[in-house]
């Protein structure tokens, strides 16, 4: 989520990967996406001459015009060069300004701003070859160029220079700042924004200053004001549409709201979670949105209130924990915000929540060593979560904390149970819960030559037990690298460099040692289900070994540089990722037979960092042999570039496509599946309320609502029956029989009850209604018997519409 723009106060558009996502601002739901680009989408702007259309530009060298309400691609303009950003202005109709690499230096770092005259032709796909260079040597960063008041000039910043180009005079002015390198001042420009009504250019700088430039149509007499609040670089600047306020954001994750004429008055919206990378303001100025470095969009209402957060998978500094599936919510768990674990729903592609592990204030400052969550593990039922956080200060001792969290059913979240400070003397390399249902046991291995088993100690005097160390094991002072439990929890395999030791967790007896030199053991994995007698291990010296535990001998081994080994918990399958010559290959196999079920060469560039099998909700009935291994669970993996990828089958894709078509419903309001459910219901209720309070409204509404009239008017005349027949039907439609009305009402009530369950937290208008009725009842008849009361209630629930319809007719 890099570049976002508001189209109206209803929709928020955001470039995400190769598509443009459309979000509803009121419900923060994803509406649909605009797909068609074949490379990264680099910019989205509203068509200034038609507010129902947007232009998007992409590195694939095209500018596309979309109807974003319906998600229809209107036109494609082929530019032919990768486009880095796009700018439009109302004054320059039919022209878009794009930043492309300099023609002669296609590969180099030089970029130019060109005006593209969009040809007027009816074709879907047009080549726009009429390019004219406006400014040379501009920055490809989208925030580095901005149109000035009414498009009269354009301001571009690069390095230490601000360039303003006046279209009318065809003249440009350049203003440079002193580098000031010797004083350690970094005053390079980072972003620019022009005041929409006055001739004032705001520029952000790397040292956190904001300069407001005025009188910039002169070479020397220009002047500027300096505002300084940010301590890090100013990432983005944006004027509100009326120019009364200036918004700025940076690494501090505080939205600063400067009053344009009262420069030292400023408001802050702090604690937005992560560095602000982009700010957009809705055309009416009522909504701001900030996009953050952690893949999040915050929608802010009238500058003071965060109204919605659109959170994707948090892209932190790195993923140190493995990818883990929460057994309860089936959510993917990994590092999220600094010091947090994020729970990410794979099925809904939405972040569920962040769990604060470190529980310390995060300081937004570069170069600080802070606690990071490095390991996390769930037990089989999802009742316990174990986390390890560590902080390594430069040249100082390592600080490690092991925390154990219990799931609290009441609050539906994890509650800290035990904190073990310094559980090991050195870094923890592996942590696993025992999968056996009887005991909850945790094993940690560490570089301090030991592995430790932790048990939940039961204490009668306290309600809840806490965790304590049960066993410390080691093997010849070798450093344990990895460990693995067998599926039933009866065996524990710990890899001590070249030696695999197999322990019985019940007695902590060393059962056997397996060794297969050369190379230290990198990964260990027990087979599942029918293959549970096998133990698989990978070593650093390109060996994949499979031991038979019954015979304690090596079953087979192949020379493979397996970087990651992952077992599917629901089948016998195992996935092995090999990195070869800069790209990764995937092999899926069963331990019992050393022949891969499925293999994919050159899966992605770089090494696969982590992978996990996520169990499916429903088993797929796929008959294709190639994809059978994906029937029970889906394989997710994360690459070096922090992209989360997965495998999907053909049938799934078809289904996705169908569902997206279903949702295309034209309405004036942002339509989301949620809205479809809730909005309709709400509208019905609104109408009903109106009908009750205002009979006049009911009267006018009724004829339109009647099916008979609809039928009458909408059926072509030549197929209509005779008028006498119709008349009778029409009259009957106006009469409302007592019994049917009652039934309808009952039905309606049932329906609304059902919907209520769906929509928690929605205020029920029906409740308010009855509450309003209750006092009048008492006033009217102070002494009513139970039976009378029931009668009265019946009258109340009785539909009065027939009365008004009579009046009408």
């Amino acid at each position: 989520m890099s570049n976002c723009c508001f189209t109206s106060c209803w929709f928020l558009l955001c470039a995400a990967g190769e598509s443009v996502n459309v979000y509803s601002t009121s419900t923060e739901e994803f509406v649909h996406d605009l797909q068609g680009h074949t490379d990264l989408v680099t910019g989205v702007v509203l068509n200034p001459s038609n507010h129902l259309q947007v232009y998007s530009c992409s590195a694939d060298g095209t500018v596309r015009l979309w109807d974003f309400m319906d998600g229809i691609l209107i036109k494609t303009f082929i530019i032919g060069y990768p486009i880095y950003s796009i700018y439009v202005s109302e004054k320059h109709g039919g022209v878009v300004f794009v930043v492309v690499p300099m023609a002669n230096y296609k590969s180099s770092e030089l970029f130019q701003l060109v005006a593209v005259h969009l040809p007027r032709s009816g074709d879907q796909e047009v080549e726009a070859r009429e390019l004219s260079a406006v400014l040379c040597d501009v920055s490809p960063h989208p925030g580095a160029v901005s149109f000035g008041r009414e498009g009269e000039y354009i301001a571009a910043t690069k390095g230490l220079q601000l360039e303003v180009f006046f279209f009318k005079k065809q003249k440009s002015y350049r203003f440079s700042l002193k580098s000031g390198m010797k004083k350690g001042v970094k005053n390079a420009f980072t972003c620019v924004s022009c005041h929409p009504k006055e001739d004032c250019i705001a520029t952000g700088h790397a040292d956190g200053k904001i300069r407001l430039w005025r009188n910039f149509n002169q070479k020397k007499e220009y002047t500027y004001t300096t505002l300084h609040w940010h301590h890090g670089a100013v990432n983005t600047l944006c004027f509100t549409p009326e120019g009364t306020n200036l918004l700025s954001g940076g690494i501090e994750s505080v939205l600063v709201h400067w009053h344009y004429t009262q420069e030292n008055q400023k408001d802050f919206l702090p604690r937005l979670g992560a560095a602000i990378t982009h700010i957009a303001v809705s055309p009416d100025g009522s909504l701001f949105c900030t996009s953050h470095s952690d893949n999040k969009i915050t929608i802010i209402q009238s500058c003071v209130k965060v109204s919605a957060i659109i959170q994707g998978l948090v892209k932190g500094d790195g993923v140190w924990t493995d990818l883990i599936i929460d057994p309860r919510s089936k959510a993917l768990v990994l590092n999220g915000k600094p010091g947090h674990l994020q729970f990410y729903s794979l099925h809904r592609d939405k972040q569920l929540y962040n769990l604060d592990i470190v529980q310390q204030e995060y300081i937004n400052e570069e170069g600080l060593d802070q606690f990071e969550v490095v390991k996390a593990a769930f037990d089989a039922r999802g009742d316990w979560l174990a986390t390890v956080e560590e902080r390594r200060k430069k040249g100082a001792e390592l600080e490690i904390n092991l925390k154990l969290w219990a799931y609290d059913k009441l609050t539906q979240s994890f509650v800290l149970n035990t904190t073990v400070t310094a559980p090991h003397e050195d870094r923890i390399t592996g942590m696993f819960f025992s999968p056996s249902p009887e005991t909850t046991m945790l094993v940690t291995t560490s570089l301090d030559d030991h592995f430790k088993a932790w048990l939940l100690a039961d204490h009668s005097d306290t309600k809840e037990g806490f965790w304590s160390c049960d066993f410390v094991g080691g093997y010849h002072l070798l450093k344990p690298g990895c460990c693995s439990y067998s599926a039933d929890g009866s065996l524990l395999a710990v890899g001590f460099q070249e030696v695999v030791t197999v322990w019985s967790p019940a007695s902590w007896e060393l059962l056997t040692t397996l060794s297969q030199p050369p190379g230290a053991i990198r990964d260990l994995c027990f087979g599942r289900l029918s293959c549970s007698k096998y133990l698989l291990g990978t070593s650093t010296k390109n060996q994949l070994c499979c031991w038979n535990l019954l015979t304690c001998s090596l079953e087979w081994s192949t020379p493979m540089d397996v970087s990651l080994l992952q077992a599917d918990p629901l089948s016998e399958n195992m996935a092995a990722f090999c990195s070869q010559s800069g790209s990764s290959d995937l092999f899926v196999f069963k331990p019992s037979e050393p022949r891969p079920l499925y293999s994919q060469k050159a899966l992605c560039t770089g090494k696969v960092q982590h992978a996990v099998f996520a169990p499916r909700d429903q088993m797929l009935e796929s008959c294709e042999e190639r994809t059978q291994w994906l029937n029970r669970s889906q394989l997710y993996f994360i690459t070096q570039d922090m992209d989360l990828l997965t495998f999907s089958t053909k049938t799934e894709e078809d289904r996705l496509l169908a569902s997206s078509k279903q949702l295309m419903v034209d309405d004036s309001v942002a339509v989301t599946p949620f809205y479809l459910l809730l909005g309709k219901h709400r509208r019905q209720q609104l109408e009903k309320q109106e009908a009750l309070t205002n009979p006049m409204a009911e009267r006018t509404q009724l004829p339109q609502g009647s099916i008979a009239i609809k039928e009458l008017l909408h059926t072509p005349a030549h197929v209509l029956p005779s008028a006498s027949f119709l008349c009778a039907m029409f009259v009957r439609s106006l009469l409302v029989s007592r019994s049917s009305a009652r039934e309808e009402k009952a039905e309606e009530e049932m329906e609304s009850e059902k919907e209520e369950e769906d929509s928690e937290g929605e205020a029920d208008p029906r409740l308010g209604e009855s509450a309003a009725w209750a006092p009048s009842e008492e006033f009217g008849a102070p002494a009513l018997t139970k039976a009378q009361e029931r009668e009265l209630r019946k009258v109340k629930t009785f539909d009065h519409s027939w009365l008004s319809s009579l009046l009408d007719s």
Partner: protein
């Protein structure tokens, strides 16, 4: 460069006083600066910001405001008096009681015909400026509360007066108040405190701009008396305002030490209606900015932190040059230290007292750069308090250490000093000649037989000194008839020549034996900042404020060949770009080729035997020379040998035993003695 034993003197606790008021005369380009102790300094901005004149202060006098009327300088202070200064004799010409209590401000109208003063009792008094004096004309309508600030409308028909909580606009012909502009109080706790309108300016389009103690700069419409715009600039006070000549810019000085510029700018380009917009902020001060002037190309500011800052406006310059650099003036451009070369004594001049110190002694030997152990610590021999209210304006110590003299505005005092080992006795010479009433400069001849005193109209009195009596000998008078005061005076070692320099840039050389004017050195356009007569060749070395160096042969009455060569080749740009003038010239008797110069930031030995540097040579080459081998070194040598080891130099002199005395006054220790600045929230504290 030569090796010297150096006395690094840091016990001169010189403390400049805070700047209180400032007035710039755009016509003569001179800036008058009033300090807290009542002294007035005149800087010539046309001549490299050289401090031309200093009028010493007086205990009872305080300066709240300064004002130029043509070439005349007026001041007003809390003692209730208006003073006009005699800039030729460096003394107040007359003082006039305004009978309105303490005076907060004084301004003249643009025609220069009237002065307006604001008094504690709430009156604005108008004085007519006459040829020789000023005369009270009338009072404007008396107001309740004091008048803090005043500003004339350029037409002279109206005056805006800043008061407590309000600004009044007076109609000058009728004397009635026509507008009353109420100034809001500050927020929070300061709500109960009155707002002081510290400064106000009245522009020709009838806009009034005010700065007040609530930290606001407000723009008012003077016609209707309505507030146009409020800029909250600081949490503390806005103390000073100054408007540029073309009224397109206003600078504001605050208690936080910042100077903020406001500019009159059209919000949309190519449109006529303009508004005042806050633009740049300059932070060159640590304390209150009490005085401010926006001149053609720069903003001049001064305040509690005692330094005068000239901040050039870079958009007014086409290219980087000498004038476009930031300039800070910390020290006076004259000597406050006299050194008895034979006796090893130092005399420090303070406004209120004199201190006599004996330098420490050491018999250790060491490598260059080592600090030697002291055998005897430096010792303060004498602390001589001045008599009377007037501050000391000059002092002198004879080279044998036997005589000491100082002068105030009203009297000259001469003392006989006798030091036998550790005892020191001081006796005042009782009867001084009547003609010797005050002196601008004092100087003893090298054999201590004569005292030279610079008197009015550039004349020099010669007093013969002997054990028993002192006797007036002669008055040397220049032929030019200059009325300007002498600011530099030196005599030759052989006692034959006396050279004087005055503010008219004239240098006169007198023959002391014949008691007559010998010659006048050709007048150079820049004021001499240091002069010295060579002990052996009797050549006069004069260094000017624009950093030019001349050598003039007194005997031959013409510039020497070396001087001509230097002028022909031109001085190195790095030499010319230095921003403090050379304040002292001295010579090395053992090596007649060497001339010793210093300014605040460096100490320089000019070796006349070596080739002059041209523009391409590396000017500061001491480090390079050190790294070169013996054979290569001569080819890299040039005449200017500069040492920057010693900083913030007040004085450098060479004793007869070939040891250098470096009197340093680190700026840090000046700042540490200043009162605490206003509290400011600093990031991450």
């Amino acid at each position: 460069m030569g090796e010297f034993k150096v006395h690094r003197v840091r016990f001169f606790d010189y403390m400049p006083t805070a700047i209180r008021a400032m007035a710039f005369n755009a016509h003569t380009e001179k800036l008058a600066l009033g300090r807290m102790d009542g002294s007035v300094e005149i800087f010539n901005f046309a001549d490299h910001y050289f401090q031309e004149k200093v009028i010493p202060g007086k205990d009872s006098r305080s300066i709240e405001a300064l004002c130029w009327v043509g070439g005349r300088l007026f001041s007003a202070g809390l003692n209730g008096e208006i003073t006009e200064y005699d800039l030729e004799n460096l003394r107040p010409k007359y003082s006039l009681d305004a009978y309105g209590g303490p005076i907060w401000t004084i301004t003249s109208n643009s025609q220069g015909a009237h002065l307006a003063i604001g008094c504690e009792d709430g009156t604005v008094k108008l004085f007519e400026v006459l040829e020789e004096s000023i005369q009270f004309e009338r009072n404007l309508d008396r107001q309740k509360g004091r008048i803090i600030s005043l500003s004339w409308h350029p037409s002279g028909a109206q005056i805006a007066a800043g008061m407590m909580d309000m600004i009044r606009v007076f109609d000058v012909p009728t004397g009635h108040a026509v507008q009353r502009l109420l100034v809001d109080r500050g927020f929070g706790g300061s709500k109960s405190r009155e707002t002081v309108v510290w400064s106000v300016v009245f522009l020709s389009d009838c806009t009034i701009i005010s700065g007040d103690s609530a930290g606001k700069v407000q723009v008012w419409d003077g016609h209707t008396g309505t507030l146009v715009k409020t800029h909250l600039v600081t949490k503390w006070d806005v103390l000073a305002l100054s408007v540029s000549k073309d009224e397109s810019s206003v600078v504001v000085g605050t208690s936080e030490g910042t100077v903020i510029q406001f500019q009159f700018i059209a919000p949309t380009l190519q449109q006529q209606d303009k508004e005042w917009v806050r633009t740049r902020t300059f932070k060159n001060h640590t304390h209150d900015v009490r005085a401010l002037a926006e001149i053609e190309t720069a903003i001049v500011s001064g305040g509690m932190d005692t330094q005068l800052v000239v901040r050039p406006l870079l958009e007014k310059f086409d290219e980087r040059s000498y004038a476009s650099g930031l300039r800070k003036i910390h020290f006076p451009h004259r000597n406050l230290v006299s050194c008895a070369k034979k006796a090893g004594l130092l005399l420090f001049q303070f406004p209120g007292q004199l201190e006599l110190w004996r330098l420490g002694e050491s018999d250790g030997h060491g490598k260059p750069g080592d600090s030697l152990p002291l055998k005897r610590k430096p010792e303060k021999l004498l602390h001589l308090k001045r008599k009377g209210e007037d501050h000391i304006c000059c002092s002198a110590l004879s080279s044998c250490g036997g005589w000491l003299a100082y002068s105030t505005m009203s009297s000259v005092r001469l003392y006989r000093l006798q030091t036998d080992n550790n005892d020191i006795s001081i006796t005042k010479v009782p009867k001084l000649p009547k003609v010797l009433r005050s002196a601008h400069q004092l100087c003893f001849s090298s054999d201590s037989s004569k005292l030279f005193a610079a008197s009015s109209q550039s004349s020099v009195l010669i007093i013969a000194l002997s054990q028993s009596e002192c006797k007036y000998v002669h008055t040397l008078k220049p032929k030019s008839g200059s009325r300007q005061p002498i600011h530099l005076m030196t005599n030759s070692v052989d006692g034959k020549w006396l050279a004087t320099a005055n503010s008219d840039c004239e240098i006169h050389v007198y023959n002391v034996q014949k008691l007559k004017l010998h010659c006048i050195v050709p007048v150079y356009g820049s004021c001499p900042s240091a002069i010295g007569i060579h002990p052996t060749t009797n050549n006069l070395i004069n260094v000017h404020a624009d950093q030019q160096i001349f050598e003039y042969s007194i005997v031959e009455k013409q510039y020497t060949d070396w001087s001509r060569k230097l002028q022909k080749q031109g001085l190195h740009n790095l030499w010319l770009d230095r921003d403090t003038p050379v304040t002292h010239v001295t010579f090395n008797p053992n090596n007649p080729e060497q001339i010793l110069l210093h300014d605040m930031h460096m100490f320089c030995i000019i070796d006349q035997s070596l080739p002059l540097p041209d523009q391409k040579t590396q000017f500061y080459n001491q480090m390079t020379l050190r790294s070169l081998s013996g054979q290569e070194r001569p080819s890299h040598l040039h005449a200017f040998k500069i040492c920057k080891t010693f900083q913030d130099l007040l004085s450098v002199s060479l004793l007869d035993d070939q040891s250098l005395v470096m009197v340093e006054r680190p700026l840090l220790s000046i700042t540490s003695q200043l009162p605490a600045p206003v509290r400011q929230k600093k990031f991450a504290t």
